[in-house]
């Protein structure tokens, strides 16, 4: 009797311990489970492969931003393994936030995967640390850096050497809900960058599309500009710049009248016109995604990354895509991660084969057709090239007019800056301005001083 009581106590205690641990680690565990499941799936795929002479097993890691991306990697790997029967690839996604620290830890421990995704901003510091395999010779055998669009080339080209290959690009663009424009009797935002709206035209439309009822705004003209990824494109459109030298940054050039003009205009859009609201007021993870706001008419226009088209295309409303409003030139910026191999990989040839495959049609086109990516090479922006990826189910009418926008994009500023503390200084100071706490000139002077001190200290 007593013994069984003891057992019950032990059982209850251990169950509560398990419950506690699962509560504490529920987030990580979920991620781990996913990984474990995928591992199982991968093993199954691997087992199906026929045994060939001299089999090589490649380890490959990436991050997962959307399930679609992991799915497409796995689809791509199946094709790759069918084409290369002697190579098997184990793919493991790592949570996005922990990605760099895990990869660096694996490198230190000597267990780094042969091939991995590499954030554009980590690329240069990884090269400096001697962690990446030099692909220059292998790359030059079949390609030229000039085959790539300028923004991708700017990321890949590190002092005339290539250590990582881009496989796509993404850029901020302007989305709009066609029904709202129709109802207001307004012309759609132009797709062709040559006809892009000036800031005044854009501001005027945003004002007209803002509807206030009983003191409460029920429809905002636009949302999304108060995000450094988006407004940096406008700063560049006004002739402003971020760094003194993209290849070897030692100082910021952000403190300019061009930047001040753009930031003040974005601020006024919200504070003076009431056509927008503070970016941080909506946490997409918590409440409602920007795509849903556009769908339900909470906003008429949305400034977001080109990847958002993948989600927008699945929603039940007519979405349009146009060029961003311009200040001086109609330009956007582009960036994306690269695929790289570990410097100490035992299979450099096979690693290159995989990296090369990930840069080609079989892997790229499925993601471009889904609306998640845009192509990274110039050949995809010719008439035949566009025909390869254009998908009328996803890409709205007039989207092809927008193609030169991606092709000619400048490189996104944070993609070439390895000093992430500087980015945080930018966000912190800009945050003070956007919160109405300090004026733009004070903030820009402060960014310049603090960022340059940071660059000097990091030397």
């Amino acid at each position: 009797m007593k013994k069984s009581l003891l057992w019950i106590v032990v059982l209850i205690l251990s169950m509560s311990m398990i419950a506690m641990f699962s509560l504490a680690g529920c987030k990580e565990e979920a991620a781990e489970e996913e990984v474990a499941e995928e591992e199982v799936a991968e093993e199954e795929v691997a087992e199906e492969e026929e045994v060939v002479a001299e089999p090589v097993n490649l380890k490959f890691v990436g991050w997962e931003v959307s399930p679609l991306e992991t799915e497409s990697v796995e689809k791509g790997l199946e094709i790759f393994m069918a084409q290369n029967p002697n190579i098997t690839v184990d793919y493991n996604p790592i949570p996005h936030d922990q990605y760099t620290s895990k990869v660096l830890t694996m490198m230190l421990a000597g267990t780094c995967p042969d091939v991995f995704f590499c954030f554009a901003y980590d690329y240069r510091s990884f090269i400096k640390g001697g962690n990446l395999l030099n692909l220059t010779d292998l790359f030059n055998e079949s390609y030229s850096i000039d085959d790539y669009i300028p923004s991708s080339a700017a990321i890949m080209n590190a002092d005339d050497s290539i250590y990582g290959i881009s496989s796509c690009t993404v850029s901020p663009v302007l989305y709009y809900n066609k029904a709202i424009f129709d109802e207001a009797g307004l012309a759609y935002p132009p797709s062709d960058p040559a006809d892009a709206w000036t800031w005044e035209e854009f501001r005027d439309v945003a004002k007209q599309l803002t509807i206030v009822e009983g003191g409460k705004t029920v429809q905002y003209g636009v949302y999304g500009l108060e995000n450094s990824y988006m407004f940096s494109a406008l700063i560049m459109s006004n002739g402003g710049s971020y760094w003194n030298d993209n290849n070897n940054i030692t100082a910021t050039t952000i403190n300019s009248p061009e930047t001040a003009e753009v930031m003040q205009a974005i601020y006024d859009l919200r504070v003076v016109d009431g056509s927008s609201f503070l970016a941080a007021q909506i946490d997409p993870d918590v409440f409602i995604s920007a795509a849903n706001m556009l769908q339900t008419g909470k906003i008429a226009m949305l400034i977001d990354g080109s990847w958002a088209l993948q989600e927008l295309a699945t929603l039940d409303f007519e979405v349009g895509v146009g060029a961003l409003p311009k200040f001086k030139d109609a330009i956007t910026h582009g960036q994306a991660h690269v695929h790289a191999a570990w410097a100490q990989t035992e299979h450099p040839e096979e690693a290159w084969a995989l990296i090369n495959f990930l840069s080609g049609d079989d892997y790229l086109l499925q993601n471009v057709r889904a609306g998640l990516w845009m192509p990274h090479k110039k050949e995809y922006y010719t008439e035949e090239g566009i025909a390869k990826w254009y998908n009328p189910d996803v890409h709205p009418e007039g989207f092809t007019d927008l193609a030169p926008y991606f092709e000619n994009a400048s490189v996104e500023p944070t993609a070439v800056n390895a000093n992430l503390k500087v980015n945080d200084i930018f966000n912190e100071e800009m945050g003070k301005f956007l919160a109405g706490d300090e004026d733009i000139d004070t903030v820009l002077a402060s960014i310049e001083e603090r960022a340059n001190a940071e660059f000097a200290a990091a030397e």
């Binding site: 509560l23 510091s125 400096k128 909506i282 409440f287 992430l420 912190e428």
Partner: protein, 293 residues
């Protein structure tokens, strides 16, 4: 002789049986502790070779605007959460120490947030705080007040985090106080009743002094917890807006796992350690004279 041999043997056995635990302690606690102390005198980004820099990290810390801001934010966070949290949970414990039917339901209700996950708490509260769609500003608008952008305003972000932290930790402190309350012999209250003492004077002269032990414990634990506050901040504001909620552990995390400045991050960890140590010593010393045993 025989006994000595046995003792010897027993200690060997003890050691063997403790080994699994000891290995874990060494690998995951003691070695990292010592290692990070050594790292705090170096410069290392996980890539370039480790570079010995002496006290440079510690000197840099006190010139680093962001560190000083995070230090101030930590103090603000602690001053905001500890006194209010302790007082509310004490009153709650007294209120829930009654013999009323269904009191256990109330106790469970107040304890629930403690066992809930931080992720869930952060999500639900972020939702409530949302200035556009959130419940709080809706309720305020009903009575004609335009609510602030709770998590988006430089002035309101920290108080918002403090409110959530207090809510999350209330049940745990309350439970400790309840245990303390139930350890006070009923005879004191009966004696006071006979003397005609009012509720408040009984509370002031019996409950509070006899709870001083528990109170000391609760204050120390909550202070240490709030010095180490991270989860809610990481999830609700990510240190923003404009670093107004960046606390020491958050800045440490950023330095270690975002900027990869392992030496600098270790130095922050040791500054935090000494702060907590000094605080705990002062508190024990102060209360030694005050606590009634």
């Amino acid at each position: 002789m025989k006994l000595k041999k046995l003792l010897y043997r027993e200690s060997v056995w003890a050691f063997i049986l403790l080994l699994p635990n000891l290995i874990g302690f060494l690998m995951f606690l003691l070695i990292p502790l010592v290692a990070s102390f050594i790292f705090s005198f170096t410069k290392w980004n996980l890539m370039s070779p480790i570079q010995w820099v002496g006290f440079a990290n510690y000197i840099e810390l006190f010139k680093d605007e962001t560190f000083l801001k995070s230090l101030w934010n930590t103090i603000y966070y602690t001053l905001g959460t500890v006194p209010i949290g302790v007082i509310i949970s004490l009153f709650l414990a007294v209120a829930l120490n009654q013999r009323i039917k269904g009191i256990k339901i109330f106790r469970a209700a107040y304890f629930l947030p403690v066992i809930g996950s931080f992720v869930a708490a952060a999500l639900v509260w972020s939702w409530m705080y949302n200035p556009e769609f959130g419940l709080l500003n809706y309720l305020l608008s009903v009575i004609g007040i335009k609510g602030p952008g709770w998590l988006t305003s430089l002035n309101w972000a920290m108080p918002s985090i403090i409110i959530t932290t207090i809510w999350k930790g209330l049940g745990f402190n309350m439970l400790l106080f309840l245990a303390g309350l139930q350890g006070i012999p009923q005879s004191y209250y009966e004696a006071a009743d006979i003397d005609g003492a009012k509720w408040f004077s009984k509370f002031l002269h019996i409950t509070i002094p006899l709870l001083s032990h528990t109170t000391l414990f609760v204050v120390i634990i909550s202070t240490i917890n709030s010095f180490q506050g991270f989860d809610l901040i990481y999830m609700m504001t990510n240190g923003g807006p404009a670093r107004s909620t960046s606390v020491l552990v958050f800045y440490l995390y950023q330095n270690a796992f975002k900027y990869f400045r392992m030496g600098y991050a270790s130095a922050i960890a040791y500054v935090l350690f000494f702060l907590i140590l000094i605080f705990a010593i002062v508190q024990f010393w102060l209360q030694k004279k005050r606590v009634i045993f």
